[in-house]
């Protein structure tokens, strides 16, 4: 079931409104392939992906656990902890707490582990372009 794709006209891509080309690119724009291959960029990309994918897995599994408990373990969720406050209510509020915690954690991490490297790569790219 492969789709027949006509050969693609490759000329017009940059002449037009290539998205992201905010300003008409200067004749010698940044060399994206070179930056892409540089060890600094490869390291940054690896570090970024490991962190965000890991964090995403953590909050997704935690959220799913909560949802499955609410769907299939109603008696457990209905257990009264103190007064009329149920386990379900507390777990729900913990979802709020974990969201705040993950946000704060990412903010701190990105500030120290991502932003300086991005700045360095940008500075290097500008130096070369000049």
């Amino acid at each position: 079931m492969t789709e027949v794709v006509p050969p693609r006209p490759r000329v017009a891509t940059f002449g037009g409104i290539a998205p992201g080309a905010a300003a008409p690119a200067p004749p010698a724009g940044p060399d994206f392939a070179a930056i892409h291959a540089s060890p600094a960029f490869v390291a940054l990309r690896g570090r970024f992906r490991r962190f965000v994918f890991g964090m995403t897995a953590v909050f997704f599994v935690w959220y799913l656990t909560y949802v499955l408990l609410a769907a299939y373990a109603k008696d457990f969720m209905a257990t009264r902890v103190t007064g009329s406050v149920t386990v379900g209510l507390i777990l729900g509020l913990l979802q709020f707490a974990s969201t705040i915690a993950i946000t704060a954690c990412y903010l701190r991490w990105a500030r120290s582990r991502i932003d300086p490297d991005v700045a360095a790569i940008r500075a290097a790219a500008q130096g070369v372009a000049r």
Partner: protein
């Protein structure tokens, strides 16, 4: 009926507070929008907002009538199951924070289409992006306008369907005016003003309610259970979805995965100057929304405790009127007037945000990107966007009149399912998967959108249950009222298959460029 005889509020006062909001915001919109002729100004406010401002505007865009009226109502009637909406809507922002906001900000300029068409064949992908943007915006808008009808009925004491239709039309006209006069800059200021008032309002109500119950959650919950026809069941999961846990899971998936695919949320990331500010806006949005959603829990249970579930369901606005009725109960006519105005302003602002997104997508992706092959001049592109805004405004008014009375939070959850199915898979694949290509993009978007439309059409939403749109007929072949659990995986799988099975190759140079741009922001 009962309410009319009890005289809930004072329509003149309600109208006056609302009119004051409109006048003030229109003045602000007029003042901030002196120069608005370039596409960057009209679509993205020239990228001139700070992260804090944009964060508050993001929560303004996101905290719609569904959040305020819908969730408060759902918690008041169904208790714990309504709380799920609050949790899903908030946790969803982590997807934006970690995977989407900064990368999208660095890669695109104005629309979602900019990102996903970056390294693909422009025309078919832009067409697909515009299609899904328009469908999602339309569903979302329908939900807001349906809410407007309910609020109008209750607060302005307009009982006749024709009268309500007239008020919906007026709301639609004001909204179009915001967009035409203010562009993205004006609309953003409307969101900021509205979000501030809304959050102030719910926080004050929450503090008051907690004070009334001696700051004891147990006292509040016990009173809520006592005055709810479902009794103690509202403190436990299952009051609404007890018979269909799968539906509950489907809804939860759509909620958490939908936010990052909503076109009007994505477009907000372009109004800030760089990725760090985009990150800061999400952080601020998470902060304000946490406050808001915790408050809705108290307000929802508070409405059940003080107003009672039966009175809410019997009122003119039905389930959506829990928050306004509670306001009347605790603060009389004046507080009701304020809550009325806030609810109205919420609807107005969110619909304005949706309108600018849909009009931008049509003008930028379809008109400039497809009809003019990317060679449209800025002035004509903005003109097309303005005309589109008027057309969309007209459609929203008609849709709102037709959808008048439907459950708001629920309709929004459907829009989330569309966003999660059609957009999220495509955005993530194109940002993170090297091999992803044009065929994969088209398969992912159209399969997600198509399966969603089909499943909703054959679901209990359309037929086969007393609350369906066509309650007389029964062609509900699909048992779940939210399609997310099926349509989201379908979209991811089709995106994968389309990529692997097709013969076209991903553009390697552009793929590398996109990776570098998205992470570092070089080139912007």
């Amino acid at each position: 009926m009962i309410l009319a005889s009890e005289g809930v509020g004072n329509p003149t006062l309600n109208t006056a507070v609302f009119a004051a909001f409109v006048v003030v915001t229109l003045y602000v919109v007029y003042r901030v929008s002196s120069r608005n002729s370039s596409t960057a100004d009209y679509y993205a406010a020239g990228g001139g907002f700070s992260g804090v401002q944009n964060g508050i505007a993001l929560s303004g865009d996101f905290l719609s009538a569904a959040s305020f009226l819908g969730i408060a109502g759902a918690i008041a009637i169904n208790g714990y199951d309504g709380f799920l909406y609050s949790i899903g809507f908030l946790v969803a922002w982590l997807v934006n924070l970690l995977l989407v906001a900064e990368l999208v900000r660095n890669t695109g300029r104005f629309t979602m289409g900019d990102v996903i068409a970056f390294r693909m064949r422009k025309r078919p992908v832009r067409a697909a992006a515009a299609t899904s943007t328009l469908v999602i915006s339309f569903f979302y808008m329908l939900a807001q306008m349906a809410g407007a009808g309910a609020v109008v009925a209750l607060l302005l004491d307009v009982q006749s369907k024709a009268g309500q239709a007239l008020v919906i039309a007026v709301v639609g006209l004001i909204m179009v005016l915001y967009v035409l006069v203010g562009g993205m800059k004006g609309t953003t200021w409307v969101q900021i003003i509205k979000a501030s008032i809304l959050i102030l309002c719910v926080v004050l109500m929450t503090v008051f309610l907690l004070g009334k119950f001696g700051f004891s959650m147990t006292a509040l919950l016990e009173e809520a259970a006592a005055n709810n026809s479902k009794g103690e069941a509202v403190l436990e999961p299952g009051a609404q979805y007890g018979s269909s846990p799968l539906d509950f899971i489907s809804l939860s998936l759509a909620l958490i995965l939908g936010a990052a695919g909503l076109p009007h949320v994505l477009m907000r990331f372009y109004t800030v100057p760089n990725a760090t500010e985009a990150r800061r806006s999400v952080v601020w949005a998470v902060g304000t929304m946490t406050v808001f959603y915790v408050s809705t829990l108290v307000i929802g249970y508070g409405a059940s405790a003080l107003v009672g579930s039966e009175r809410i369901l019997d009122s003119t606005g039905g389930v959506n009127s829990a928050a306004p009725l509670l306001a009347f109960e605790i603060g009389g006519t004046v507080l009701l007037g304020i809550v009325a105005a806030v609810a109205f302003a919420t609807i107005l602002a969110v619909v304005a945000g949706l309108t600018i997104t849909a009009s931008a997508s049509f003008a930028h992706d379809v008109y400039a990107g497809i009809f003019r092959h990317g060679r449209a001049d800025a002035a004509s592109e903005v003109r097309v966007a303005r005309i589109t805004a008027v057309v969309i405004g007209a459609l929203a008014i008609i849709g709102g009149i037709l959808a008048n009375g439907q459950n708001v939070a629920f309709l929004v959850a459907l829009a989330f399912a569309f966003a999660a199915s059609a957009n999220l898979s495509t955005i993530l694949y194109s940002l993170f998967w090297k091999r992803f290509n044009t065929t994969g993009t088209l398969w992912a978007m159209y399969s997600g959108l198509g399966s969603c439309l089909l499943l909703v059409f054959f679901s209990p939403v359309f037929s086969g249950s007393p609350n369906s749109i066509f309650s007389g007929a029964d062609f509900a072949l699909f048992p779940l009222s939210n399609p997310g659990i099926v349509s989201i995986p379908v979209s991811f799988v089709c995106g994968y298959l389309g990529t692997v099975l097709s013969s076209d190759k991903a553009d390697e140079a552009l793929q590398k460029e996109m990776e570098v741009r998205s992470l570092t922001g070089i080139g912007r």
